[in-house]
């Protein structure tokens, strides 16, 4: 039937066109950043300092900034998310566990700019007062807010992983006199470790890719950070700040290196997650 074929063609076109989106973005970034890649300055750009007045456009400090902020966010969010997931799945009374799950689901809808805004006026002064130095704009403040941003995603992922363990195993442990915590530690966690790892990778991707929280509360200083109380600039915030510069300047071109670095980081995460997911499906 001709209309069938036409429709099939339209659907296929939609799929292939959408598929080219990711590739297109990569190509444009690489093409526009090519002058830097071609001139062999890549290593310098990736590791050097950002001193535009001295014609040095290294994003090394920004890479560090991203790693510090994302690292702190994960370091805070993962233990708490595991605890919450355990509460929802096993240790919490059934009603409360369900309530917490719904709350966490709703939390995923909170926009990051709102976290950033509240961060500026609530958390930053708090950090400033408690630690007594600096302006409060710091990796700590950004890390805490970012952790709050990614925690719901982590929790829901962990909960799904724990819930996927067959019911027969859980009942077997109960029938043998095991407590919910024993169920969790001896059966659920060992079976769900792949899902947990996948959640970690997902959280890392989100933390690395966020712009507004870092832009608004991490301080945006170009000096490499030395402690979590120092301000820092992430790759994402850097892009947002420098975009006002002249389009043809070398300054601007380093933004594409930033973009490509971010793309590489998150794509590594995507590939890692896909590997973990398929292995999860293959398990008996």
């Amino acid at each position: 039937m001709p209309s069938e074929r036409w429709m099939h063609g339209a659907l296929a076109a939609a799929a292939f066109l959408s598929a080219t989106a990711a590739v297109t973005i990569f190509i444009i970034m690489a093409a526009l950043g090519w002058p830097i890649l071609r001139d062999g300055h890549l290593l310098q750009v990736l590791t050097g300092p950002w001193l535009p007045l001295r014609h040095q456009y290294g994003i090394g400090a920004m890479i560090l900034g991203t790693l510090w902020v994302a690292g702190l966010a994960l370091g805070l969010a993962v233990p708490i998310s595991l605890g919450c997931a355990a509460f929802i799945q096993t240790t919490g009374p059934r009603g409360l566990g369900g309530l917490l799950k719904h709350l966490v689901q709703l939390m995923t809808g909170i926009p990051t700019v709102v976290y950033g805004f509240v961060g500026i006026f609530l958390l930053v002064p708090l950090v400033r007062d408690v630690f007594g130095r600096g302006s409060g704009l710091s990796i700590l403040a950004a890390g805490v807010m970012l952790g709050l941003l990614i925690a719901p995603t982590l929790i829901l992922f962990f909960v799904e992983g724990l819930a996927a363990v067959p019911r027969a195993h859980r009942l077997a442990v109960s029938a043998l006199g095991g407590t919910p915590v024993q169920q969790l530690v001896y059966v659920l966690l060992p079976q769900a470790w792949r899902a947990i790892l996948a959640g970690l990778v997902l959280g890392f991707g989100r933390a690395v890719g966020d712009t507004m929280i870092a832009l608004m509360i991490a301080g945006n200083s170009v000096a490499p950070p030395a402690s979590i109380l120092d301000p820092a600039r992430t790759l994402t915030a850097h892009i947002a700040l420098i975009v006002a510069a002249d389009f043809d300047s070398p300054e601007f071109r380093t933004l594409f290196v930033c973009g490509l670095t971010l793309y590489a980081l998150t794509s590594l995460g995507v590939v890692a997650m896909r590997r973990l997911a398929t292995k999860h499906l293959e398990a008996p």
Binding site: A14, F87, G109, I110, F117, T211
Partner: protein
């Protein structure tokens, strides 16, 4: 030893839950308290009478109305652009592709989903400037450019939502129409898609929410602090999330700051509500399929 370790684990699960709930409560509570004084029609319409503003007879200069309208237009345009592509691609992946092709397609969609929004914004901006220099000076960061960039951003939500909804349909529903002589296309459009509609809609609403809340993309592709109501697709525009960002560092007096809190609250409510609806739809679908 075992008992003590068990108690510690149980205690940790309670503590972390309380910490999480406390943190969220602090954020939302702070926002509520600070924005309460600003919650009145003046927040949205400024000193312009409500009716005049709604009838487009007078501009609103100091209220959120232009930003809210800008966000609305932006969302409708972006989702409108992405919808046919996203749903079409989702149907194709779920129903027509398999094996290597399917893996390849889903890989590319996953990669797209992973790209940070600022990189999408950078892409949109650079492409625009490039075309501005080399193609036509009329090409400039604008509502259209932002909508196109946002379409890139939310495409994966639409594709995944559609794909997941279709793939989760139980086998017994898939075989009804073919057993009666229907073609594959007829099965898809007359049975499968209608059955999966809740799930597909859920993905659409998720995409809407994502467009409404995004700041990074629009700040590079056309959002400005003051442009009035969006006049055309090729002009610059205001948007709620950008307003919030802008005000956070550029507020001149307590009144403007309070407006910022009000805007944050409105955005929070809108996005949380959209998200809740999206969840409800997904659950509705799952329930309906189970009952049958």
């Amino acid at each position: 030893m075992r008992a003590a370790a068990q108690r510690a684990i149980t205690a940790w699960s309670w503590i972390s839950s309380l910490l999480l709930v406390g943190a969220v409560a602090a954020v939302i509570g702070f926002l509520l308290v600070k924005s309460l004084p600003a919650l009145n029609p003046r927040l949205i319409f400024g000193s312009t009478p409500v009716l005049e503003a709604l009838l487009l007879r007078a501009p609103v200069l100091d209220g959120l109305w232009p930003a809210m309208a800008g966000t609305c237009f932006l969302v409708v345009t972006a989702v409108g652009l992405a919808l046919p592509l996203g749903i079409g691609a989702g149907i194709y992946v779920a129903e027509y592709s398999r094996g290597r092709l399917k893996q390849g397609l889903t890989l590319l969609f996953d990669l797209l989903a992973g790209i940070p929004s600022i990189v999408v914004g950078l892409f949109g901006f650079s492409l625009t400037v490039f075309l501005h220099h080399h193609l036509s000076p009329r090409i400039y960061p604008s509502l259209l450019v932002s909508a196109l960039a946002l379409a890139f951003l939310v495409l994966p939500y639409l594709i995944r939502g559609t794909q997941a909804a279709l793939e989760n349909l139980p086998a017994r529903i898939r075989v009804i129409a073919p057993a009666l002589g229907a073609t594959k296309m007829q099965n898809i459009f007359r049975v499968l898609v209608p059955q999966a509609l809740d799930g597909i809609l859920s993905g659409v609403i998720l995409a809407i929410g994502r467009c409404a809340e995004d700041t990074a993309v629009i700040m590079l592709t056309g959002a400005v602090a003051s442009a009035g109501l969006p006049k055309s697709l090729l002009g610059s525009f205001e948007a709620l999330p950008f307003y919030i960002y802008y005000i956070s560092s550029q507020y001149m007096n307590p009144k403007e700051l309070r407006q910022g809190y009000g805007a944050a609250l409105i955005l929070l409510i809108v996005c949380a509500a959209l998200f809740a609806v999206s969840l409800l739809l997904k659950n509705l679908l799952a329930q309906r399929l189970r009952v049958r």
